[in-house]
Symmetry: C2
């Protein structure tokens, strides 16, 4: 069977099974997840062994240490995967929820019902825990899923998928609803993202190059995450302790994450007072500072930022700093240079807080809180399938609701249109 | 200026102005619409004259009579356009609405705020009233809009856009938020649908060819409407009067519309009883019937339907009829052959009604009501920018809410992530 037929066949099966999943009960879907969680724990040794094969092969190929770390399935990571599935069980079932059922002047009753999207294609790199997370969220939301993980994790992904299949089977749900693509060359992604007949949306998770390529070539809607160029703006009316806590936390709590601050904007009125104190903290964290000309007048030893710095997602202990005249310039800077991901203001001023909230065009806009909170768990979604930097359909952290859509329902009693 | 620069410049202006519109007050946007409505009525003669130029040029080019009719701006149509804008004024403002603002365990408060999408590109054919409708909905929802109407209506569209510009100006809002593309060759559409930097979504309205081309070539998200292959299923437990009323209304109330029934499915148990009565009604309406083999056993004089008929959107007084064993086959037929637009069941049975509602995968699913109700006005949206057959973002009739998205908002008091 060639790759085209292989993917088409698998996508077709996913669609057929997704229809059974879509009409299954909350209890059945939760049951499948609970059983799968138990099996993951029972089969711990099998999973570790499968993962060991991946690790050894990847090591022989010279995979980098950080990538090997992401690939590794320790016993505690296996327990965390199982716990993740159990957490999904506790989330309310979004499927079938009917809202806004109102009578219209014609006498019909019109509302909306939440339904699964159908089949979700997930393309990701070599973190095996994504296999369980993604399958869990898709099963819970009544969707079929096609998993296309990185080649380095093939044995691990097969082993995890096997456990999930057993969970579905024992809960009397079709195991074909969770499909794993075992051919991990580029062509398999190319085929997956053109299955318009069987697949409803593609969610790529991984490096920017992968995501850009998929967005460009996909014939299907893509829920994607591009840059996280996040800003914190320190207003001219601030509580210094809050400002320092947030500016340090947003940058230093973790560096390689999309919701870390990359550019700090400071109102001119407070810059001279707060910058030396901030610089001391950043120095303790070994964060390299790059400032605008005005910033350099206050912190003379730091690097001068270039125009490129304002566009940069460092994902590293580097921070760009710019002094602005006030809120309007801060908002302009964020909307112009930012990536519409997550941006925060620190202020005690009600009117400016409100203006920031309204005018910053980002998927998360925060007042007096660290950008690091932009996360599905922190937002109460329970789990996230990804973070969307798109505006349509789902914006920001995407949980179960992002894997659903709403159809209109109309109830009548023989009503006809005049 | 070449076409590429022309469109880019216009899209850039639309984006800049859209940001001013996005932060304007409900009162300002409503005021612009009210003033534009008044000006449309005051400038009736100017509009009729501009339209006359279009009509004469199109007549000389040999445009078909039905197309000329759609192109014509009569005084009553101008008043209807103005009334349409006034109706949009009465709709609640979706922008800035904050929902689900809840405290999370970390102490932050997380909710969602409804915001405009940004800039909407609308590509349509030669119905000048779309110019006023689309601009009105976009202004109300705080979006910039780029209008690309059919070449036949250029003078009419210019005149209408002029009135809307005056409304925006007199309400002290930027008239550049409503842009009209005056170059109506294919290249201008090609440029518009690749303005990823400035345009957020494309809504094509018109023939299937246009929509398919735009979907294929667009680099931007498209809210689209393809086929309307709508079904009515007459269950084996029906009220005959309701069944006949709905089956006739869904087909005969209007033929050339996307929410008209194209295939009638009938449970075997009631077919023999109801088909002759239905056939008599359809005959009175001169509707050509094409039936499956079983149907032909009851209505011997009608045509035999072929496999292609089940896939057909006739948009004409033609109806395909199929006898099915029961609900399961009906649902299978609808999900397999249909276009996921609008489908209805007629039944007195509660359990089967509920099953139909859950299992039919269409943007509108109806019980005991005519498919002809699938419409923004009938659903209480007040007005519609189109009907979406997509699953993501907006499904079914798209009103103001479909022109918005939600961003996350986070309120804290110096909160940092642990």
């Amino acid at each position: 069977m060639n790759i085209k037929n292989y993917i088409e066949d698998l996508a077709h099966k996913a669609q057929q099974s997704s229809r059974i999943l879509a009409k299954s009960s909350t209890h059945e879907r939760n049951n499948a997840l609970k059983i799968a969680a138990n099996i993951l724990e029972q089969e711990e040794q099998m999973l570790v062994n499968a993962n060991l094969k991946d690790l050894l092969e990847s090591q022989a190929k010279g995979l980098a240490e950080t990538a090997l770390d992401r690939l590794e399935l320790t016993k505690s990571r296996i327990r965390a995967m199982a716990e993740g599935l159990r957490q999904i069980v506790t989330l309310p079932d979004p499927i079938g929820v009917i809202s806004n059922l109102n009578f219209q002047p014609s006498g019909i009753q019109v509302g909306q019902m939440r339904v699964p999207l159908g089949v979700i294609g997930i393309v990701y790199e070599s973190r095996p825990n994504v296999t369980a997370d993604a399958a869990g969220l898709c099963i819970k939301s009544g969707n079929g899923v096609i998993l296309r993980g990185g080649s380095e994790a093939t044995h691990s992904n097969q082993a995890i998928t096997h456990c999930i299949h057993l969970g579905l089977e024992q809960a009397r749900l079709p195991k074909e609803a969770v499909q794993m693509i075992e051919v991990t060359d580029r062509a398999s992604v190319g085929e997956l993202i053109t299955q318009e007949k069987y697949v409803d949306v593609i969610i790529p998770r991984g490096g920017k190059g992968l995501i850009e390529r998929i967005s460009r070539e996909s014939k299907l809607p893509v829920i994607k995450h591009l840059d996280g160029i996040c800003h914190v703006y320190l207003d001219n009316q601030i509580d210094f302790e809050k400002a320092i806590a947030i500016a340090i936390n947003a940058k230093c709590q973790r560096y390689g994450v999309c919701n870390a601050m990359e550019t700090l904007l400071i109102a001119r009125d407070v810059a001279e007072n707060i910058l030396p104190r901030l610089a001391k903290h950043y120095q303790e964290h070994n964060v390299e500072l790059r400032g605008c000309i005005e910033t350099k007048k206050i912190l003379s030893t730091i690097k001068l930022a270039t125009e490129e710095d304002w566009y940069e997602e460092y994902l590293a202990p580097i921070l760009a700093i710019k002094i602005v005249t006030g809120l309007d310039e801060a908002i302009w800077h964020i909307n112009h240079y930012g990536s519409h991901h997550t941006d925060a203001i620190v202020t005690e001023n009600f009117t400016r807080a409100r203006q920031f909230l309204t005018e910053v065009d980002s998927s998360s806009v925060m007042i007096n809180a660290s950008t690091r909170f932009a996360d599905g768990f922190e937002y109460g979604l329970g789990a996230e399938i990804g973070i969307s930097t798109d505006k349509l359909h789902a914006r920001g952290p995407v949980g179960l609701e992002g894997l659903t859509s709403q159809k209109w329902i109309v109830l009548g009693n023989g009503h006809i249109r005049q």
